[in-house]
């Protein structure tokens, strides 16, 4: 259990450090689920024994997991569902308005100073793709013009 939580937390930190807001969002989801597991393990785990009092009995018989943390988790899940749904809508709206999900390129609220040196934020992969597309496009153009000139 501890290892699971650790792995989830590590993965979420990796995702949170990304430029890509969608990844950040996934990181948050993973992190909040890791937190739920922490609470879950705090309540103790017993296999196959739901903490329900049998009919007619006054108390729980035998060893049971503490049900309260599970109620807490339920609340936490509901809340994080709401928050994350909102965050998703927010990211989506931002994408529509700003046309990017790269957090480094969002400098509207805190505009850089005139003399501030900002590294070129454009995603290098995307440049390659665009260059490639341009190259392919050129080739197509050449061929078309070649085809066009043939009958003449």
């Amino acid at each position: 259990m501890a290892f699971t939580v650790g792995a989830m937390a590590a993965g979420s930190v990796y995702l949170l450090l990304s430029h890509n807001l969608v990844r950040v969002l996934f990181g948050l989801i993973l992190l909040s689920n890791a937190a739920n597991f922490v609470i879950f393990s705090a309540g103790g785990m017993v296999e196959g024994a739901p903490p329900l009092i049998a009919k007619g009995a006054r108390d729980l018989a035998g060893v049971h997991a503490n049900p309260l943390p599970q109620a807490l988790i339920l609340t936490a899940i509901v809340i994080s569902f709401g928050l994350l749904a909102f965050a998703l809508v927010l990211v989506y709206r931002t994408y529509q308005e700003l046309g990017t999900i790269d957090s480094d390129r969002m400098r509207l609220a805190e505009p850089p100073y005139d003399d501030q040196d900002i590294p070129e934020p454009e995603n290098p992969h995307r440049i390659h793709v665009r260059d490639a597309a341009r190259r392919v496009g050129n080739r197509v153009d050449n061929r078309m013009s070649a085809n066009g000139s043939d009958p003449a």
């Binding site: 509901v78 709401g82 749904a85 809508v89 989506y92």
Partner: protein, 139 residues
């Protein structure tokens, strides 16, 4: 919105079943597993299914009431469930019960039921507000 005949036919059947089941779960909730939250989710998914099959506009028409208003009404219900305790000098949210009949056949109605109905409405309203808003964005 997908123009799938199978989905549309199935939705017509499932919608009423799911709504009925959600109310069953809601009423069952006090003493057995179930309750307003899970019932609300089932009802919300029924409407969400309808909106996937027939489009968000049709789902809004089917619901009659705006989901936001539904959620607000739910909050009011839940608050109202806490208030009757004031009449009897108890603390906020202390359950108040009415009993009809005797023995095994006693029928209990109380403020926890009102609270559960409130939760039911809030869940339907909140989930559908988000779902419909996201679906309408796509069109």
């Amino acid at each position: 919105m997908t123009e799938s005949l199978i989905l549309r036919t199935a939705t017509r059947l499932l919608l009423s079943l799911m709504l009925l089941f959600s109310i069953f779960i809601l009423l069952r909730g006090h003493n057995e597993p179930g309750g307003g939250f899970i019932g609300g989710l089932i009802a919300a998914s029924a409407f969400a299914l309808h909106s996937i099959a027939f489009g968000p506009a049709a789902a809004r028409q089917l619901m009659v009431i705006d989901p936001k208003a539904l959620a607000a009404a739910g909050v009011l219900c839940a608050v109202a469930a806490g208030l009757p305790a004031a009449l009897f000098g108890d603390a906020f949210m202390r359950a108040q019960w009415l009993h009809w009949g005797e023995g095994e056949a006693t029928f209990h109605v109380g403020t926890p039921l009102l609270f559960d109905i409130g939760v039911f409405l809030v869940v339907i309203g909140a989930v559908l507000t988000i779902v419909l808003a996201l679906e309408e964005e796509d069109v």
